[in-house]
């Protein structure tokens, strides 16, 4: 039996099967104290199951798990927590209506409270607030009012709150599930620093990442999962990007076969002048047909707001937008769709999918009126239309009638792309187009964007992943504080340039952790 000395957690012969399908098979895995173990793998490779098993939310079919020398009772999240496993989930289990402070101390009482019966029964508002503030300061989040309800903060801030919440449990094993997927570069770096600090203090970190550069930067050890099996256990030196991708996808390599973006220049599709909205602008921006324009910026810089305002999903307060030379003022996204604009929003589950409904319903959502005749849907045409979309985009599924929530993240996102490409828009707005998508699907989505642009579609992509923008865009505009602060053609692309522009308009220096978390 492994003692509690330097092994924080160990898994022995852990498997998990759903019916005949084995989704996880780990003969042996030790998480040592002081080590950051990164887990990489495509969607469906078993990463979530591994985390679930360790944090007690998934009951393994066979095998045992020990945390700090004690055996974990399978399928008991509370027991895992007691043993010192804390998990930062990708979908945040925060109570939206409760305040930040209440969320941070959810399920426990502030340490400052006394132990008398009264102080154990009565909610200690002052202690809660004080401890919440201290926690947030510890993880480096400033300018968050702990009394405001969590739901009033945007996703990136909520992610930081979630991290602070896990941090507050003083865990032995800290599980981070793609903690930076919704964060801008500065905040992401802060999270990585936090992981390092936890390891340095003798804790173990299990880090699930999609961004391979981050994995390289942070991991002391990289574990690669493929189809539920542990296929590689790499040292940082071995874990080059190529190597990791090769292990993840098996034989085929994803990145090299992407064609560089074309530089066709055509007429101006979107022309934005002095556009203002709540927290946005004034913004001037042009996107030509066939052009892919990236929008970079820290979180809260107005990237999503720009897209939503163009789409008519957020009220515009001023300025003018021309679409193919005609005045374009959508008051509802329906106006934008009718004019030939599509939006792939940031949060797939909340903003894109009808999770309980079939793939067919999901992919035809934006083209329903078009495929109906006098408002009537013909079942066969409906099915053929959906089958065409699914086939063109290479969505992997059993049948188009299965609920879309049963697909992997990458395939869901491809379906959402299919929904919009089927509408044959003139302008496509993409907000974090590959969030929560595995490497293989990412490459396919990039190819889709590229192909659509070649056909003359104007694309505006907002993303917090700089590599992504550098890879697919012809031009990148950098936003800060709701305004465009830089406009870089492809020849001038550079990470440092974008980062300093994004942070530049603020008071702090470009490299300092000054990127704030304003709503």
């Amino acid at each position: 039996m492994a003692g509690g000395g330097d092994v924080a957690a160990c898994l022995r012969d852990v498997t998990k099967s759903y019916g005949p399908v084995k989704v996880l098979d780990i003969p042996r895995l030790d998480l040592e104290r002081g080590q950051i173990v990164a887990v990489v793998g495509e969607n469906g490779a078993g990463k979530s199951t591994l985390m679930g098993v360790l944090s007690g939310t998934v009951t393994p079919t066979t095998g045992t798990i020990e945390v700090a020398g004690q055996q974990l009772v399978p399928g008991r999240p509370d027991h895992a927590q007691e043993l010192g496993v804390a998990m930062v989930a990708q979908e945040f289990p925060l109570v939206g209506q409760l305040s930040v402070a209440e969320n941070l101390l959810l399920g426990r009482r502030p340490e400052s409270s006394g132990t008398t019966l009264l102080s154990r029964t009565v909610f200690d508002r002052r202690g809660t607030r004080a401890e919440a503030k201290a926690l947030l300061a510890e993880v480096g989040v400033t300018q968050v009012d702990v009394d405001r309800p969590v739901e009033r903060y945007p996703v990136p801030v909520r992610q930081m709150i979630e991290i602070a919440k896990a941090w507050g449990h003083h865990p032995v094993v800290l599980i981070l599930d793609e903690p930076t997927s919704s964060l801008g570069p500065v905040e992401a770096e802060r999270v990585l620093a936090l992981a390092r600090r936890h390891a340095a203090a003798g804790g173990a970190v299990l880090f699930i990442g999609h961004r391979l550069d981050e994995v390289q930067a942070v991991a002391d050890r990289v574990v690669v999962l493929r189809s539920g099996a542990l296929v590689a256990d790499l040292t940082p030196a071995e874990a080059t990007e190529e190597r990791m991708i090769r292990e993840m996808v098996g034989s085929e390599l994803a990145r090299a076969d992407l064609a560089p973006p074309s530089t066709v220049e055509r007429t101006t599709t979107l022309s934005v002048r002095g556009l203002t909205a709540d927290g946005l602008g004034p913004v001037d921006l042009d996107v030509r047909a066939g052009e892919i324009v990236g929008v970079a910026g820290l979180m809260g810089s107005g990237r999503s707001r720009l897209l939503h305002t163009v789409m008519g999903a957020q009220p515009r307060t001023g300025g003018e937008v021309l679409l193919d030379g005609a005045v374009f003022h959508p008051r509802h996204p329906a106006d934008a769709v009718a004019a030939g604009v599509g939006l792939v929003p940031e949060d797939r589950k909340v903003q894109s999918l009808l999770p309980a409904h079939s793939v067919r319903w999901n992919v035809t959502l934006a083209t329903l009126r078009r495929i109906s005749r006098h408002g009537v849907l013909r079942p066969r045409a409906d099915k053929e239309h959906a089958a065409g979309i699914v086939a063109d985009l290479g969505v992997r599924l059993r049948t188009q009638e299965q609920p879309i929530s049963a697909l992997s993240g990458g395939n869901q996102q491809k379906a959402v792309f299919g929904r919009w490409l089927a509408a044959e828009p003139r302008l496509l707005l993409l907000d974090e187009p590959t969030r929560g998508v595995d490497v293989g699907a990412k490459a396919e989505i990039y190819a889709l964007i590229d192909a659509a642009a070649q056909d003359g579609l104007a694309v505006l992509v907002a993303s917090s992943e700089l590599e992504e923008l550098l890879w697919i865009c012809h031009r990148i505009v950098v936003m800060a504080g709701g305004r465009v602060v830089a406009d870089l053609p492809r020849a001038e692309f550079g990470k440092e340039k974008i980062m300093s522009a994004a942070a530049g308009s603020r008071t702090g220096a470009g490299t300092g952790p000054e990127g704030k978390a304003s709503a």
Binding site: Y18, G19, P20, V21, G44, G250, E252, D257, M311, A313, H332, P333, A334, A336, V337, L343, P345, V350, Q351, S352, L353, L354, P355, A356, H357, W361, T364, L365, A366, L368, R369, I371, S372, G375, V376, L377, P379, I389, D392, L393, G394, R396, R398, Q402, P403, S405, A406, S408, N411, L421, A422, E424, G440, E444, A447, L448, A451, A452, D455, L457
Partner: protein, 339 residues
Amino acid sequence: MNTRTAAAPAKEAAPEGNGRGSVVRRLLETPEVGVVAACVVVFVALALDKSSFAGAVNLQGMGFDLAQYGLIAIGESLVILTGGIDLSVGALLGTSVILMSWFNVRAGMPPVLAILLTLVIAGLVGMVHGLAVTRLKMAPFVVTLVTYTVAQGVTLAITSGTSITGIGGTFGDLGQTYVAQIPLPLILFVVVAVIAWFFLERTYAGRQVYAVGGNPEAARLAGIRGDRRIVSMYVTSSLLSAFAGIMVLGRMGVGSASGVGVGWELSAIAAAVIGGVSLVGGQGRILGIVAGTVLLELINNGLTTLQINSNYTNIVLGCVLGLAITADRLRARSVARRS
């Protein structure tokens, strides 16, 4: 389509066994199977036990009942599909009965005019519901609770507790006629059900109703004007209440002030839920809703036929509802597990 990907590496093979058992699985994944089966079982059991149950007279009686409850169950379900709830359907039905008889008898209007005017009023009430829910973002429960209360008050105020007699013959023609032994209200109900089915399954507006109920934000960002769909469903629900009111008035022959329709909204909600309509919205089909109504009616009538003390009826109906919800939950969970 203007895009094409390079041959997608098809390595995510479908993990589940194909062919064998797929018919069973598809049946199990169809939410309405349970209710329809239950209807058949209950009907056959009762018919075998009591020959009078399947007799023409009793079946006709059930047909009248079915039409009344079924019409408001459909209206209720349309609202639930959008993610709302309409507590006013029963009370509004009662008020419609009184309004029609009052317009006809006291105000001296011809029956047709009385009906039309009542339908207009009901439609306006529904529109107020819809606008309050969409524009003012008021909770559907509260909005329709207001109408529920006010409508009952209006009924009392108009009648002062005494029924209105002497209504025109048109009402009786609508509410009591048989076409080839089949009650006219039942036929009208079937017509409404078919129209609702067609709307939900075969029109893009119907699909959009599901989308709005399933995920309002996703629907909005996909360019669907959800507010319009929601308002129109509230209007339809109120119209169907008034329409059912015509049948009730025709059948009773008097504008009864004694609580017609009160509590019917709960039967309507129960029928919807038993039929597989999800209370969070976006899920449920007409087949299930109709089957849910039929099942409730079969049980209700069956208990009478079996001469079980009517005081026990609600206990049985409540248990059936509880059973339906539990079965639906278990089914949904097993489907979710498998995926």
